[in-house]
Symmetry: C2
Subunit: 143 residues, 2 copies
Amino acid sequence: MTMPTDEELAALGAAFDLFARRYKLAEALGPEKPLNELDKQILSYVAKNDGCGPTDIARYLGVANTTVSSATDRLVKRELLRRQRPEADRRAVALHLTPAGEGRVAALQAMYGELHRRMLAPLDAEERRQMIAMMAKVANDDA
Amino acid sequence: MTMPTDEELAALGAAFDLFARRYKLAEALGPEKPLNELDKQILSYVAKNDGCGPTDIARYLGVANTTVSSATDRLVKRELLRRQRPEADRRAVALHLTPAGEGRVAALQAMYGELHRRMLAPLDAEERRQMIAMMAKVANDDA
DNA sequence: GGAAGGTATCACGAACTTCGTACTATTCAA
DNA sequence: TTGAATAGTACGAAGTTCGTGATACCTTCC
């Protein structure tokens, strides 16, 4: 394939930087005491993979098992997450969101949705369609 | 403007999640002892804004002044950053990269560049051009 | 059945990070 | 020339990550 130029790559990097910074600043605004990065990622993962175990999460996020264990403790104490011992394998732990946890995830997703909506605002309908198609193509390539 | 659909927004969010995760996992690979997130962002900021002060950085990144001060200490101890008292205003501190710091930033940028290059790989030249144009348009809107 | 070995998780503690409070040094303004 | 404002830092409390070691459970192979 023809290589993208360095300028193109730099533009891409600058855009990602900007988005990441906006994410972070937007998150500071919510009314609740903000969750840290890991905790948010864990809640989102459990929302998408109900009943998963701590080890799945640790592998997925690239952190130590014990770190997920600590984070799970935090989230259980805050009543956002629930541990359950499945009868099938009683070493394991299946994680589920509590109703409060579901509410929190919904709020997070609403915030992200709003951020993305605003991000797309300067594009017209056709451009937006194109951009999302590219992103999907890139993401689904899954290299 | 016509609103993007929820599916479109979800696709966008999934793509960003994926990219963020790839960033994090890629960074764990380098040979050096990895810098934490804040330290990397500080180095990058100083690379683009040579001679800036801690308070500029704190405002830009949305963290406390004292946090930047601690991080600056770390980076000075690791000899990636250098403090300098400008004669013009002797309360202030001007930050500069050391040669080692410049090397570190170059390595980081090379890694990001490679990641972005690989991200663009599944697109053909025309699509890539489009995608980068969209990203630039969105980023420059600067809302 | 039972011992050996592997797996999933947690308890604990060390090292590190963030950030609020209080302080110093310097500049600005009247 | 003081008094207020500004840039930065020292210190300490609270919280986070992760390695080590312990516990409970499952599986396999005699």
